[in-house]
């Protein structure tokens, strides 16, 4: 176990069916830090996130992961179709020793925090909109009270206002409990709003082509700061090359 409880990945390499997806990735997140993994699609962001979270064992490399309760929000909501919103959030808690009452109250308060009321909580996934499903998935992850939170495009199916609200929720929750967060996104503004550091993956196989840090405390980042920061970042040559197809599109 590392002394300061940081997540450290070194020399991570991985491939699927003989095709290399990630090559020589080194990164670290101090305890309580928020790292954004940026990059164009197909650069291995999700694979890297799954490796960091322990869902995939890399072909080579070392991961130090001193966490007890990881929680994921996946790109797809991955809700159990036969469980209500409430049941799906409770499912994330199945591995924890909680009394029934405790579990229920945690589920209820978390659903309210993501903006789903009592009536919505009793609905099955096929009765929920895409954005609502995403929020249930977020509630499921936060209800675990994770010490390591992994978000894969967690805010992408939400409209702008809601996505900001959910980002705020994650940020406050993470700050309050000192959660370490790794988030994958293709949205620069999301990274600039939430993260205190970012890596940019690009190429095939994916390599880290740039490392950024965003120093201003997250609560002081207003729209003007975010805009200025995005302009500063997109002006970097490395970033421009990595995102070229997306920026021109």
């Amino acid at each position: 176990m590392s002394g300061d409880g940081a997540l450290i990945a070194s020399g991570v390499m991985h491939g699927f069916a003989g095709i290399k997806v990630l090559d020589g990735v080194d990164l670290g997140i101090p305890r309580g830090g928020i790292l954004a993994i940026l990059g164009p699609s197909g650069s291995g962001k999700t694979t890297l996130l799954h490796i960091l979270g322990g869902l995939l064992t890399p072909d080579a490399g070392r991961i130090e992961r001193p966490f007890e309760r990881p929680a994921f929000v996946f790109q797809d909501p991955l809700l159990l179709p036969w469980r209500t919103a409430r049941g799906n959030v409770a499912f994330g808690l199945a591995g924890q020793r909680l009394s029934r009452a405790e579990r229920l109250s945690r589920v209820r308060s978390m659903l309210i925090k993501v903006g789903l009321g009592h009536d919505d909580a009793g609905l099955y996934p096929h009765q929920l909109s895409g954005g609502m499903k995403k929020r249930v998935a977020l509630a499921r992850a936060l209800a675990v009270e994770p010490d390591f939170l992994l978000l894969d495009e967690a805010f992408s199916a939400l409209d702008v206002g809601l996505s900001r609200e959910m980002q705020q929720l994650v940020r406050l929750d993470a700050q309050e409990r000192g959660v370490t967060v790794a988030l994958v996104t293709h949205d620069l503004s999301e990274a600039v709003r939430l993260a205190d550091r970012a890596v940019v993956l690009a190429g095939r196989p994916g390599r880290i082509v740039a490392r950024l840090s965003i120093d201003r405390p997250a609560r002081l980042r207003d729209d003007a700061f975010v805009d200025a920061e995005i302009r500063r970042i997109t002006a970097l040559d490395m970033i421009r090359d990595a995102f070229r197809p997306m920026l021109s599109g």
């Binding site: 979270g53 869902l55 309760r69 990881p70 929680a71 994921f72 996946f74 797809d76 991955l78 159990l80 179709p81 036969w82 469980r83 499912f91 994330g92 199945a94 591995g95 099955y124 096929h126 009765q127 499921r140 675990v144």
Partner: protein
């Protein structure tokens, strides 16, 4: 509230159509009886009387119990073995490669062949019927269970692993509901087939049951009695289906309400 009364009317209408269907069948039966006479096709009423006589004579009760025992014991063995092995085959490629051809062969063997073989193996004991049912019906359950287990959503499995959900909860919440959606329809078919095979086995073994009664009725060339036994076995099948399979299905499929193609 006009909407609710509409729905009630529709429900009543559906039941009325079902009754109409039944009336048509009985009507055709009666017409057949009038055309061909008592010997070929006894009237519905004569059949009902014969059934009443069987009940009053103390033949019906024990026969129904024996047949129920034969069919259900075989069905239960088939369900347990079929779902266990099917679940295994759905999760492991070698197990599937080994068991699938076996199931295909077993499905290919005619049920009546199993009856004859089990007669030779087990003699006239009740075990012959149980064995015939289990071996004829088991492969159906196996195929459905294997298919269900194999097609469990990989994403949901990953999700359960990510949240470190214990194995018990994973089986109950991730595997079972999906497997059941494949298994329950198969179990309905398997149960219906269980009665048929059980009656067939009893007919040949003569160890009691509705099949034995059918054999006796045939020997006496009593068509009304034969028809009465047929009515008894169909009624038994319907009652068990409505009492066991249907409630189980409804319980496990509540979540499907409102899905496209499902009744609200």
């Amino acid at each position: 509230m006009p909407r609710i009364s509409w729905r009630r009317l529709a429900g009543g209408g559906e039941r009325r159509w079902a009754m109409l269907g039944l009336v048509i069948i009985v009507g055709l039966w009666e017409i057949g009886h009038r055309a061909y006479g008592d010997f070929v096709l006894p009237s519905p009423w004569a059949t009902l009387l014969a059934l009443g006589r069987l009940g009053a004579g103390g033949e019906l009760g024990p026969a129904v119990l024996t047949t129920a025992r034969d069919a259900l014991s075989g069905f239960i063995v088939a369900t347990l073995a079929g779902s266990l092995l099917g679940g295994l085959a759905g999760r492991s490629r070698p197990a599937k490669a080994m068991l699938q051809p076996l199931a295909t062969i077993l499905i290919g063997v005619p049920a009546i062949a199993w009856v004859v073989l089990s007669l030779l193996w087990f003699g006239g004991s009740g075990l012959a019927a149980t064995f015939s049912v289990a071996v004829a019906v088991g492969p159906l359950v196996f195929v459905a269970a294997a298919q269900g287990t194999r097609t469990v959503d990989g994403g949901l499995r990953t999700m359960a692993r990510a949240f470190r959900v214990p194995l018990g909860a994973r089986i109950v919440d991730v595997y079972l509901p999906h497997v059941l959606s494949h298994l329950l329809p198969a179990l309905g078919t398997a149960l219906a087939m269980s009665w048929k095979v059980a009656v067939m086995a009893e007919l040949l073994t003569g160890a009691g049951g509705i099949g034995d009664g059918l054999a006796a009725a045939r020997a006496e060339v009593d068509t009304a009695k034969t028809m009465a036994w047929v009515v008894a076995v169909v009624a038994l099948l319907l009652i068990v289906d409505r009492l066991i399979i249907e409630p189980v299905r409804r319980y496990f499929e509540t979540w499907r309400r409102g899905l496209p193609g499902e009744a609200a």
